[in-house]
Structure formats: C-alpha cells, structure tokens
Amino acid sequence: MSAVTPLDLLGASILGWMALGLGGLFAPRRAILALIFPAGAAAALLVAGAALWALGAPAETAVLPLGLPDLPFHLHLDTLSAFFLLLLGATTVGISVFSIGYFRDMDRATLSLLCLEYHFFLAAMALVFLADDAYLFMVAWETMALSSYFLVTTDHHVPEIRRAGFLYLLVAHVGAIAILMCFGVMQGGHGDYTFATMRDAHLTSFWASVTFLLALFGFGAKAGILPLHIWLPEAHPAAPSPVSAMMSGIMLKTAVYGILRVTFDLLGSQQWWWGTVALTLGLLTALFGVMFAAVQTDMKRLLAYSSIENIGIILVGIGLAVTFHAFHKDALAALALTATLYHALNHAFMKGLLFLGTGSVLHATGERNLAKLGGLIHRMPKLALLVLVGSLAIAGLPPLNGFVSEWLLLQAFLLSPGLPQSYLNMLIPVAAAALVLAAALAGYVMVKFYGIIFLGQPRDEKIAAAHDIGVWERIGLTWLALGCILLGLFPVFVILHIDPVAQLLVGHTLGSSAAQTGWLMLTPILPERASYSPLVLFLIIAVGIFFTLFAVKKFYHGRLRRGPAWDCGFPEQTARMQDSAEGFGQPIRQIFELFFGIVREVPSPFDKKPHYHGETRDRLWDLVYLPIARLTETLSALVGRLQHGRIHIYLLYSFVTLLALLAFIR
C-alpha cells in the first residue's frame, strides 16, 4: 500500500476545485483573478499528472460515505477514466490560465458566480469520469449540465442567450432521463446500481440492444449527434469563450466516455449492427456539421458546427471499433478505438485553442460577425500565429495532430475488408469516402475561418482599435498550441499511453506493433502495410524551407519595394469589396443546396437603400422539432379542455371513474 495513489491526488484536486468555487463567492475580484483561477489551473495540472500516472497504474476503487443508503458513492479509476481525466486536466490548464486574463474586466458579482459555476463544472466532469455507480454518475452528469447551463446564461439579459440556455438544458435533461433508463435496464432489479453488478448482469440480446440505443440517444443528446445537435450551435456561442472551449473541448467528450463505458465495459459483448448504426449516424453528423460550418457567418457558430463534425468523426471510430470487436477482430478494434481516443484528445486541444482564440478576437473587437472582421493578423500577430496552428491542426494537415488521428482512422477503414457481412464490406469504402470528404471540407472551413478573421483588410472601422492578447492569454493559448504540435509530432508516445485503454476495452493493444520500428515511425500494423513519421516529414519540410531560404538569400539581391496592391485599374477599392464570409461559403451552399433551408432577400437594382439579408437555416429544426412542439401544443390543448370549469362536469368525472372501477372489479 503506497502512501499516496493517483486517486488520492484526483480526489484532492476535485475537492480543491469545489473549494475554490465556493471561495469565489466570498473572495474579492482581484483575488478571484490572481489566486483562484491560477489555483484552479494548478489543480488541473495535478489532475493531468495523476491521470498520466494512473494510465500506468492498476485500477483503484474507493467508496465515499455519501449517497443513497444502499448505495454509497463508488469511485473507480481505471485506464479509461484516466485517459479522459488526462484530457480534462491537460486542456483545462490552458483554459484556466487563459481565463485569468480573459475575465479581467468583469464585474465582481458576475465574476464570483461564474467562478463558482466554472469550478463546479470542472469537478462535476471529473466525477463523471470517476463514477462507478449509476447514482453518482447521474448526479455528476446533471451537475455538469446544470453548471454549464448557468455558465451559458452568464449574461442572461439577452433573450437569445436565455433561449439557447433553455434549449440546451431541455435536451440535456431528456438525454439524462434516457441514460437513467439505460441504467435501469442494466441494474439487476435488486436495486443495486453499482457498475460492478451491471458488468455481471447478463442481458438478452434484445435488452442489450435497447440499452445500447438508449445510451446512444442519451449520450448523443449531450454530444450533439444528429438529430439531437440543435442545442449545440446555440449554446456554445452563447457562453463566454473559455466556457465554450470547455464545453466543446471537454464536455462533449464526457458523452464519448459514456458511450464507450456502456458499450464496451458495462455491456460485455456487442452486436455488429450497433456498429453500423453508430457508423452511419457518425458519418451523417460529420458531413452535416462541416457543411453547416462552411456556410456560417458567426465565428463561434462556425466552430460549434465544426465540433459537431468532429463528434461525428469520433462516433465513426466508435462504430468501427464496435463492428470489429463484434466480429472478434480485436487488433482492428484496437486500431479504430485508438484512433477514436486520439481524435478526442486532439479535438480537445484544437477546439479549446480555437474557441479561446475567438474569445480574444471578441474581446479585442467586440465583434463575432465574420462580415465585420478581417486583417487582424496585423493588429494581433501573436494571436494570429497561435490560431493558425489550431486552424491547420483542425483542418487535418500534417504534421499536426488532427492529421494523425484521421490517418489512423483511415487505416482502420483500409484494413477492414474481410468482414463476414458482405454488405458491410460494401458500406465501409463508401463510409471512408464520406469521411474523407468531411475531412477535406474541414480544410475549406478553416481557410474561411482563418482567412476571413485574420487576413485581408479590416471590414469594419472599429477593428482598427484591436489590441493584441495579454500575457495570460498568450500562455494559455501557447499551452494548447504546443499540445497540438507535440501530439502531432510524437504519435507513438501518445499511442503507447492509449494502449492500456484499448487493452481494457477490447483486450488488444496497438503499441507493440505501432512502435516496432522505434518511436520515430508510426506503423499501426506492419511497416510495409502503412507507416507515417510526422517528425521526419516536419524536418524534411523545415530543411527544404531553410535550404531554399538560404539559396535565395545567397543568389538573390533581395531588393524589395512596398506599394499598394494592384487595383486592376479600378482606383477606389475598399475593404468592403473583399469576399465576405457568406460569399466564401457560397459554393458549398450551392452544391449541397437541398440540405439547407436558405432564406434570402436580395435587393432590386432600384432600391434606394439596397439591403441584403441571407441566412441558412437548419432543415432538421423544421422537420423534427417543430412537429414535436406542435404535437405537444395540440395534446395539451386537448387535455386542457378537460379542465372545463363546470363543477357538474367534474362531478361527472368522479362519478364515471367510480362506476368504471366498480364495473372493472365486477
């Protein structure tokens, strides 16, 4: 029995977070900024460290003296939890440090509430990963939802934000009930809700499938899987940027964790068609997300849709893993699973970085609308550089991290042939194609995102006043950017750390084969089948660049003139004539027209005040949600009729009820 275990450290930092949050209620403004958020970041660092340690260590469990009488809170720290805790901690460090600078000019009342909710949010997410019984899991889960709801509605005097918050909490709650039911199926019936007993419970294939689908629905609601995604593009932009970063980067992953936990850990065995369902849903989600991201004109909405896309990709990975595991191709399952987890980790860093970046832009310019931004690379060069890293990473370009996970996933696809199901073999190449399409579109989106915000000329006067980020923001962003780069350059190490998780879930690992030719070269199965070495690639390019630079410097006189850009002989070029965000999305809108509900009002040539308005609406809203709302309306109208106001009618109800019951027992 060693003196201190990872679980102790984790528990300590979770308690620390809660204490900090409560402290925020009483601390003065300066103290919140100067002490509490840094301390929170430190705790996050501790979490990351402990999780890293736990990835190597054997699983631990603990029982708290809290909870229901038969059911004290059970904690369980296995490698799966550890991996996601690592994700949580590592990302949070950057975000918390960033927040120190970001919230600097917020008034005390708001700030202290925000501090409370922020740290409880963190603690709740950590507990979600640690929970080992249904009750604690649900408590943590809903606390997470609740605190994030309050974070989203931080400036609640804006009606849209209130609406967004409500939508979010509603979807979250319905999802939570579904999760609850899924646990209800798995519990033995003797009121024992620990995960341990759920693992032992043997379900018939029907009930197992019900459980899986309930889990997919419940967690999908949190993850933003089609068609439960509607809250996401509303809520994420509404929140303050660090919060958006946490929700997109970390909270969505809790749903991934939940699906993995239920599918692989709690339900011992899978059925192959579950995988197909997940795969299809994932692809639809990914394509949908990236398509809508391409046509957004609000930078945070754009990022939110891109989150939907990435969740879709992750779900695809899960689907593959399930399929393979169901067919007992554990090596392939391990590959797909590793790709999935890797992508989850990457997305946490990339999306965190980007959302924080947009936060800084918002802070500096007060503008979220892409149509007003532009040219910030001159005003905010440091930010521009850091965000560039994030954009390239999320566009899935080598040698950064986004590419590695997509590469692994594609490998999993390519190695799939030879599944017993023939039409699965048909489906999978098409799926691969769709996935690649999504990834390529992500590139389009990111060029739009970065180009419109940072490049070109400012589209609005007030942008000129923008100031670059302060030191805290820079540290936070740099942390995340470094994460993106390192995760991209040293995949073998990452995979070696993911291995214990794969071992736990599918009983097979990648590391042995992945590292067989040394840490430099990533070879998932065999060197001659596939190999990729981002570091080498990076070095070659670097060498190439420097060589070229050197050569040019050597042989070239290096004279340089500055002048105005070429105006094509048209003298009065203004910044307004640049391509707008909407214009940039136009080709996509045209190609995938039938997926968008497009509303446009175009001015006639004779308008005195020509005004153009265009928006692309989410078809699913009209196709799914409005009908549900209307149905509820009509039903409640019908029910409302019963409350008729006439006492005779009421008496008649009682009378009829009585007679009916009497007749019934007769």
């Binding site: 889960w141 709650h173 519990q187 006492i647």
Partner: protein, 482 residues
C-alpha cells in the same frame, strides 16, 4: 403522552387564535404554537424510533414508523410555513387584501388544520381518520375562501363539493371495511382499529375489500389529486393565500395518500394479489401524463406549481403502486422531498407575486436582479422539483424510474414524455421570471426566506447523503407497507 401534546397544542392554538388571532402578536403566537407542535412531534418521533410502535388511549391512537415520519414532516412544514406566513400575511394586510377578522380566521384555521391532519395521521381508527380528513377539508375550505374574491369563492365551492363527495365515497369504503371486519373482530370499536385489522387482514373477505378499496381510492384519491379527480386542486391552490397553498401541496396531499396506503395494506393482505397496486399505478401514470400536458398551458404561477404537485403525487402513487422495497422507499423519500421542495417554492413564489403584484407569469421578470434571494430560491427550487441532481427529488425519481424500467418497462415511455414535457413547461417559464430585465416594487416587510433555504438545504442533503437513522426509519416504514 407525546401524542396528546402533539394533538393538544394545535387544538389549543386554534382556540386561542380564534380569540386573539387578529392582534398584532398573532403571527408570533401562531409560530409559537407550531413550534410547540413541532417539539412535541419531534419527541414523539424520537420515542417511536427508539421504542418502536406505540399505542395509546386504549388503542385509539397508534404510531408506527410510517405515520410518525409523516407526523414529523407535517409538524416541520407546519412550523416553517407559519414562519413564512408572518411577513407574508403582514404584507397582505398592508396591501389591504385582508381585514383583521380574516386574519383571525386564518390563524385559527391554520392551527385547526394542523390539528386535523395530525389527528388523521395519529389515529388508529379508520372511522376517526375519515372524520379528521373531512374536518381538514372543512378548515381548508375556509382558508381557501379567505380573500372573499369571486375567484376564491368559486375555488372554495368546488373544493368543498368535490372533496365532500369524494370523502363520502371514502366513508362508504370504510363502512364496507367495517362490514368485512366485524365478522372477524365482532361488532363495536375494535373492528375499525387499524392494528386489529392489520392482524387479521389475511382473513378479510376479498370481494368486499376490493369493492371497499375502489371506494376508498376514489374517495381519498380525490384529495390526493389523482387525475381525473384532481379538478379542485389547481383552483384551490391558485386562489388561496400562499401559505395555504404551501401546506395543501406539502401536507394535505401526503395525508390523503397516507390514508390510501393504509387501505392498500389491508387490501393486499386480503386479496394477496397486485390488484390495489395495479389500480394505483394506473392512476399514478395517468396523473403524471395529464399533469405534464396541463403544465404547458399555464399562465398563473401558483396554478402551474399546483399542477406540478398533481404530477408528483401521481409519481408517488405510481411508486407505491409498484411496491417492493426500492419503489416504496423511493415513494416515501419522494413524499418528504416533494413536501419540502414544493412548500419552499410556494414561499418564494409568494413573495415574488407580492413583489410583482400579480400571479401572471408574463408580468414577473428579472427576480434575480431585484431580489437575488427570492430569485435563486425560485430557480433552485424549480430545478430541484424538476428532478435535477444533486437534489433529493432526483434521488427518488432515480429509484422510481430505474425500478419501473426494470419491472414495468412499458410505463417508461410515458414517464419519459411526461417528465420531458413538464421540464420544458416549468423551466421555460421560471427562466423568464427570474432572468432578464426587472419589474416589481419593494416589500413593506422583509421577506422570510430562511424557510426556503432551510427546506432546499434539507432537500440537497437528502440528495447527497441520507442519514443512516433516517434510512433505517424509511426501511421500517417501507417494510410496514410492503
């Protein structure tokens, strides 16, 4: 002995306040009396938990862990409500809604109402229980019609007639039970004593008992507010003074459900089938679903929370109907947390409506801005009642839903729909009330929010940690009512 005190103090209080109820110190006297009641009840509780069930006055009174827990709850909520009603009623008087006589009536009836409920809980005699329930109806009728407005009169009238008729059915049921029992226990008093009935329940005539249960269920069910017998409930809650709404929701419904449970025990014993349970599950489910859809049309805040009470009573009935240790435990936990939460909500709502000068929700805005305590009280209370962890309501709903999912899966889609709809309905409205820009004037007296946060604190505690003795207590009770 404690029993006598528990009953005597509110009775005396009622008589005293009938005399001095209009004086300036009357609210304090009222609170003092409730405090006395609470102390006596606490003593009684301690004794029962330590010594087990007791009977008194040659078995006319009987206390086991099931009803003592309701006694304690009743006394507690009675106390906090009286504390809340001090400033509330003063403000009402200040707004000129109440005359001195009305105030006197209010205070006296408040105590008598407490008395009748405690009597209904403590008595061992099903007949007396019926009498007490009827008396509780009468007292609350006066309380509901306190303001003498057309609306309140109409509400009170409906309340009186519907519950009177319902209760009459319950009496018929009681007669039938007696009719079945006297063959075994002989005519005279004993045949209605629950302890004796319980001892011979296995031999009671099944057909009679099933008939009796129908009448009892319809009778007491009317007071529980089970759909479609619930129609009096929203009116009474919305039109009466807020403290009364609080005790109606928090206590009266529980007591009625208690009566149903007592009869269920007998019937189960006699029939040995799940007949009673099935009926209760049916009614419960119907109430939950109907209430949810009613909820999404509400404009009046108190009315809305009244419907939410219907929903939750339905949930409890459903849980008790399912039976089994977990579900019954959950049902009783839900009784506790619902009373606490709902009364807390009504406290907050009371002051909110006084601030806004209306009960219409679209005219209540930005509470968090004007008075953060009321606002947060309302938000947290609503989230708790909507079954958000880490509050106790979630704990019970957790057990209910999981058990239902395992035992009666077909019911869960209804529950899912109902809970979802109810959430959307309530939360969307609460959100607009507490957030956003503000309206509303200052209150002439400082609002009493200690009760709110005491209740919510307890509910939070029950969500995270149920003290062992409480658990033991619940389990004993659950074992008693199967």
């Amino acid at each position: 002995m404690e029993i006598l005190w528990t009953l005597a103090i509110p009775l005396i209080g009622g008589l005293l306040l009938a005399l001095f109820g209009g004086r300036r110190f009357a609210p304090e006297l009222n609170s003092a009396m409730s405090l006395g009641t609470f102390v006596a009840a606490a003593a009684l509780t301690v004794r029962v938990i330590t010594d087990g069930p007791i009977t008194a006055l040659n078995e006319q009174f009987f206390v086991d862990s099931f009803n003592v827990f309701l006694v304690a709850l009743t006394a507690l909520v009675g106390l906090t409500t009286s504390l809340f009603s001090r400033p509330y009623m003063r403000i009402e008087q200040h707004h000129g809604k109440l005359s001195v006589n009305m105030l006197r009536l209010y205070h006296s009836m408040y105590q008598l109402f407490t008395f009748t409920m405690l009597l209904a809980l403590l008595t061992n005699n099903l007949g007396i229980m019926w009498v007490a329930m009827e008396a509780a109806t009468l007292t609350t009728v006066l309380l509901v019609s306190l303001y003498r407005t057309p609306a309140s009169l109409e509400a009170a009238w409906k309340y009186f007639i519907l519950c009177g008729v319902g209760i009459a059915q319950a009496l018929f049921g009681t007669i039938l039970v007696y009719f079945a029992a006297e063959k075994l226990l002989g005519a005279g008093g004993n045949a209605l004593l629950w302890t004796h009935l319980d001892s011979v329940k296995a031999h009671l005539e099944p057909t009679v008992l099933s008939l009796a249960f129908v009448f009892l269920l319809v009778g007491y069910g009317t007071k529980v507010g089970l759909a479609p017998l619930h129609n009096w409930l929203p009116d009474a809650h919305a039109e009466g003074p807020t403290p009364v709404s609080a005790v109606l929701s928090g206590l009266l419904l529980n007591v009625a459900l208690y009566a149903v449970m007592r009869s269920k025990v007998l019937v189960d014993g006699a029939l040995g089938s799940h007949f009673a349970g099935d009926l209760m599950m049916g009614f419960g489910l119907l109430s939950v679903v109907m209430a949810a859809f009613f909820l999404s049309r509400q404009k009046d805040v108190k009315r809305m929370f009244a419907y939410s009470s219907i929903e939750h009573m339905g949930l409890m009935t459903f849980a008790f109907g399912m039976g089994g240790p977990v579900a019954t435990f959950a049902g009783m936990l839900h009784m506790t947390v619902h009373s606490l939460t709902k009364s807390a909500i009504f406290f907050a709502v009371g002051h909110a409506t006084q601030k806004a000068g209306t009960q219409l929700m679209e005219n209540i805005r930005g509470l968090i801005k004007t008075s953060p305590t009321i606002g947060w009280g309302l938000v947290i209370g609503s989230l708790a009642i909507l079954g958000m962890p880490p509050f106790g309501v979630f704990a019970s709903e957790f057990m209910i839903i999981t058990t239902a999912m395992h035992t009666y899966p077909w019911t869960t889609p209804f529950l899912l729909t109902a809970l979802g709809v109810a959430f959307a309905a309530i939360f969307s409205r609460v959100q607009t009330m507490v957030f956003g820009e503000t309206v509303g004037q200052r209150l002439p007296h400082p609002p009493a929010l200690v009760p709110v946060f005491v209740h919510l604190g307890l509910v939070l505690l029950l969500g995270l940690y149920i003290p062992p003795y409480l658990a033991v207590w619940y389990r004993q009770a659950a074992a008693l009512i199967g």
